[in-house]
């Protein structure tokens, strides 16, 4: 009890300091916000980004119809029909439907009473959708060559509004035997959506030549574009940071080689490179890697890390295993956060991410996991230098057991471990399991290919950016101080350099989301992006190119959507740049 009272002042003091530190960090954030808020343009950008994200998240509730309506088999929730031709925004033609009617009495298809039904179909006949419509009025009647007929030749059945009754003049006239086209207005209850004001049960962006509601497609396009933008930007940042920090920190020949590779990437225009890359991946339907590669790759990565440790600390041989510490253990929080982020991303924009998680169901993955566990155990047993030093077997198993450092198994990942793994993995790959593959992405569709191509072309920019930052920060006194007290490269890199180099990275990341959306839509526009009929903005513009002089609204709204989204991210990035600029932080 006496001890407790004695230390009270010290405890109070440390508590006070902690509070102060906490309040300072809070004020730091609020100061950033205050700087950000000063700029009207930045606030506008934030508003745009938030609205587009909300639209993307709640697309199902905002959109009137599903963009793949025609491509899927009949499901009640998408059973809405439009007149399958281009209609102007807000025009009453949105509720019109054109139907072909057989007027030859000798035809087996002929009937005096015709059911008004949609003939909406796209692609092959197996994906076919048809729905009965309730007719309000007949708009016009045309013969097969497009000449107008008297529309009173067809009437609506008084008891059932979805039945059309043909008059005898219509099917008694041999000149009309090739059929007629009737255009009628139908009751489009489903078009009236909860967010539309009364009386506005029309398509506000018009419909395209497939009869799809453009508004719904644009809304769903936000999902696709944001997913592409965020996924590609995140992955390029990760790859670029790793490569760039290696290049900048170690310098010398490593730097030279990496920078020359980046030069090659810069020399070829990104769009042409991405196009070629998409074309090169044309026949890949699912992204798989052979099991031996799946085993070797993480091992190589880990070995590369432990390798750097060895080379930097090789002077004191006995200290090696002490000094080989775990990056992964230390940054497991970061890894967990990254994983959660991707998991969240997979949940939000739908579509392709869930495929990524189906790997757990493939047998290859299970074999891979089992082997990974075996490999780590093997590493612990074989790679411990004390195991080799103490092989006199006096004291038996206990002695071996004592020599393990169970708290940090990662430190056993060294050159020798690598050698053991390579032989193990090669052994495994030749033991009759060649057919087994780890499926990374089951449905490697065109969207995936676009993303892969943009990651492939995008990382050198980040690598160069981070390299420059690392070179700059590396020379600062605090890094020198860290080095002089014997901190290892990994610690200096992650603890001292990268935290001081993240500001331009954050700006570049934000701007790159916009840039990626632009490139992806450009690829789609050229026909090398998303699959046909996908709700992708660039593709929508490309599909409506044929009609753009007649129906400019078909390309107007997707283009505006791209412009607004990209502008939002660019303004956001500019605002963040102002915030992280030391000149503004006085």
């Amino acid at each position: 009890m006496r001890d407790w009272d004695e230390g009270k002042e010290d405890r109070d003091e440390s508590l006070r300091r902690l509070r102060e530190a906490l309040s300072q960090s809070r004020s730091d954030l609020s100061r950033s916000w205050a700087i950000y808020r000063r700029s009207l343009l930045a606030m506008l950008g934030l508003f745009m980004v938030i609205s587009v994200s909300l639209v993307a998240i709640f697309a199902e509730y905002i959109a009137v119809e599903h963009p793949y309506r025609n491509l899927l088999d009949t499901e009640d929730k998408w059973s809405i029909d439009y007149e399958p031709r281009r209609a102007e925004p807000f025009s009453e033609e949105c509720d019109w439907h054109e139907q072909k009617i057989t007027t030859n009495p000798n035809s087996p298809l002929f009937s005096e009473i015709v059911v008004a039904e949609s003939d909406d179909k796209v692609g092959d006949d197996s994906r076919f959708y048809r729905d009965t419509l309730s007719v309000i009025q007949i708009i016009k009647l045309e013969d097969f060559q497009g000449y107008d007929l008297n529309s009173s030749l067809i009437s609506i059945n008084s008891s059932n509004s979805s039945l059309l009754v043909l008059s005898p003049e219509l099917y008694g006239n041999t000149s009309l035997y090739s059929g007629v086209w009737v255009t009628y207005e139908f009751d489009n209850e489903a078009m009236h959506h909860w967010w539309l004001p009364d009386g506005y049960d029309v398509c506000i962006f018009g419909t395209n030549d497939q009869g799809h509601d453009m508004f719904s497609k644009v809304v769903y396009g936000a999902k696709v574009s944001l997913k592409i933008g965020i996924t590609v930007a995140t992955l390029t940042v990760i790859i670029g940071t790793i490569v760039g920090s290696i290049s900048g920190y170690f310098g010398g020949r490593v730097d030279e080689v990496i920078m020359r590779i980046c030069d090659i990437f810069f020399a070829v225009p990104g769009l042409i490179l991405a196009m070629a890359f998409v074309a090169a991946m044309n026949q890949i339907t699912s992204l798989t890697i052979p099991i031996w590669l799946g085993i070797l790759f993480p091992i190589f990565v880990l070995a590369a890390f432990s390798n750097t440790y060895l080379s930097s600390t090789v002077s004191d041989d006995d200290q090696v295993s002490e000094q080989v510490m775990s990056l992964l253990m230390r940054y497991r929080g970061v890894l967990l956060a990254l994983f959660s982020f991707f998991f969240f991303m997979g949940w939000m924009p739908g579509a392709s991410w869930p495929d990524f998680f189906e790997i757990s169901e493939s047998r290859g993955w299970r074999a891979f996991a089992a082997l990974g566990i075996l490999a780590v155990l093997g590493a612990i047993i074989i790679a411990d230098r004390r195991f080799f030093l103490n092989t006199s077997f006096e004291g038996g198993l206990d002695r071996i057991k004592d020599s393990f450092d169970w708290t940090n198994p990662w430190r056993y990942l060294t050159f020798r471990t690598l050698a053991v793994f390579v032989s193990l993995a090669l052994l495994f790959s030749f033991s009759g399991n060649e057919g087994e593959e780890i499926v990374l992405i089951k449905d490697f569709d065109r969207l995936w290919k676009v993303q892969a191509a943009l990651i492939f072309t995008g990382w050198p920019g980040y690598a160069r950016l981070i390299r420059g930052q690392v070179l700059y920060v590396k020379e600062m006194t605090f890094v020198e101080a860290a080095r002089s007290v014997g901190a290892r490269p990994g610690r200096i890199m992650f603890r001292h350099i990268l935290p001081n180099a993240w500001a331009p990275l954050l700006v570049a990341f934000t701007l790159d989301i916009g840039g990626t959306i632009l490139s992806a839509s450009g690829l789609s526009f050229l026909g090398l992006g998303a699959d046909a009929y996908t709700a992708e903005w660039g593709l929508m513009i490309s599909e409506s190119r044929r009609y753009f002089l007649l129906s400019p609204h078909l390309m107007l709204y997707p283009g505006l959507a791209i412009a607004v989204t990209v502008l939002g991210f660019n303004l956001l990035g500019d605002g963040i740049r102002d915030v992280v600029d030391p000149k503004n932080r006085r």
């Binding site: 009207l40 343009l41 020359r260 590779i261 030069d263 090659i264 810069f266 020399a267 070829v268 225009p269 990104g270 769009l271 042409i272 490179l273 196009m275 070629a276 890359f277 074309a279 090169a280 044309n282 026949q283 916009g514 632009l518 839509s521 450009g522 526009f525 050229l526 026909g527 090398l528 660039g538 513009i541 190119r545 753009f548 002089l549 400019p552 390309m555 997707p558 283009g559 791209i562 412009a563 990209v566 502008l567 660019n570 303004l571 500019d574």
Partner: protein, 384 residues
């Protein structure tokens, strides 16, 4: 380091990059699915075209494989590819049935003419607006011009090009916003192509006009058509000036579409660069001497503020060639971008290799020139 040492060093650094690009294009061409031997013979692959010495039949497909030497090991093929490149033999296009060198030679001037003209417009515009924006920092003009600068960078270039066609080009029925402004009827700029459709070169025309082949830049070539040849043309193209005007009008919209993003980013760079310089001591000295504000900005500050802008030129040329892919597709120019798109769509990998190589050569050379210029105007660079 002396200037010539710097230049030599930069030239030597180009060599590994060029070899890397060659490896790169070769690798891509070999990854791309599709058998060039099968593409070349189409549906006649099974036809027997020849017999071996032993009397074994050789089909068209096999003959193609032998002719293209596709059965060699990849390294041997790569060795041959590099040798052929150096010798100027870039292979023959599977799609156009012409040597790739000829395809590129026809296409490259079109893209370059458009890109250069676009940058020629974008640079003065962006720099001028950037200066005004920096001088009037945080005033209304600054805010507006910065917003538009970011907005123009954010526009999808193909969409903006189509919007230009819609509002400014002929043949759109409404004539867009062009008619009320310029008093024209039915728009004021041609909607696509490099020439008026009523104007076609006579039989084998281009070579006839320019016996030496011309430069390929129609803006230049149009001034070198001799009078006797001009008389054979329709009335409205009867003089060098009219030919030039026709080309220029056709280039107006593509260049606007291509240049607007460059102008936007230049404005931002110029503004930032000038703002930095305006805080320097020597600018304060100049002001203290009582010089007029414009003289301080233009003569004293801009000189140093323009130095970093030079470096962007190299990247804007690369960006313009990349953007040309989209612009040429919209405006139906048969430049390198369109050739690249077509060759990728039809898997004509010989042309893909050629176009990728030539664009990277153009990019690298322009960057080299930019770097040398930079070293001349800013001697500090050479010290590194």
């Amino acid at each position: 380091m002396k200037l010539h040492e710097f230049v030599v060093r930069r030239l030597l650094l180009l060599i590994p990059v060029m070899i890397g690009v060659a490896i790169f294009t070769f690798a891509i061409a070999h990854i791309i699915p599709g058998d060039p031997a099968a593409i070349q013979c189409g549906d006649k692959c099974g036809l027997v075209v020849d017999y071996t010495e032993d009397g074994e039949p050789i089909t068209a497909y096999e003959e193609n494989r032998i002719r293209l030497k596709m059965d060699d090991p990849v390294l041997v093929q790569f060795d041959r590819y590099i040798r052929d490149l150096a010798a100027g033999d870039w292979g023959e296009s599977l799609l156009y049935h012409r040597p790739v060198v000829d395809v590129v030679k026809d296409a490259a001037p079109i893209t370059l003419e458009m890109s250069f003209l676009a940058l020629f417009i974008a640079y003065p515009l962006g720099i001028f607006l950037g200066i005004v924006s920096a001088v009037r920092q945080d005033r209304m003009f600054d805010h507006i011009s910065r917003f538009f600068a970011i907005a123009f960078v954010s526009l999808p270039i193909f969409w903006f090009a189509m919007m230009l066609q819609l509002f400014l080009a002929t043949g759109t029925e409404n004539g867009g916003i062009c008619d009320p402004i310029f008093g024209t009827e039915g728009g004021c700029f041609p909607i696509y192509g490099r020439h008026d459709p009523s104007f076609t070169y006579p039989e084998d025309g281009y070579a006839w006009f320019y016996p030496a082949g011309g430069t390929g830049f129609h803006l230049v070539d149009s001034w070198f058509v001799t009078d006797d040849k001009l008389t054979s043309l329709p009335e409205e193209f009867g003089s060098n000036w009219l030919l030039f005007k026709d080309t220029l009008l056709h280039l107006a919209l593509p260049c606007a579409a291509l240049g607007i993003a460059s102008a936007g980013s230049l404005l931002r760079y110029m503004r930032a660069s000038l703002l930095e310089v305006l805080n320097e001591d020597y600018v304060r000295t100049a002001r203290a001497k009582g010089l007029s504000e414009w003289r301080v900005v233009i003569v004293h500050a801009c000189r140093n503020a323009l130095i970093p802008i030079v470096t962007i030129l190299g990247f804007s040329i690369g960006g313009a060639i990349g953007g040309a892919v989209l612009t040429e597709t919209v405006f139906a120019f048969n430049g390198m971008g369109r050739v690249a798109v077509t060759s990728i769509q039809y898997l004509d990998f010989v042309v893909i290799m050629g176009v990728t190589l030539i664009t990277s050569v153009i990019f690298l050379l322009s960057n080299l020139i930019v770097d040398i210029t930079y070293a001349i105007i800013d001697p500090r660079v050479r010290l590194e």
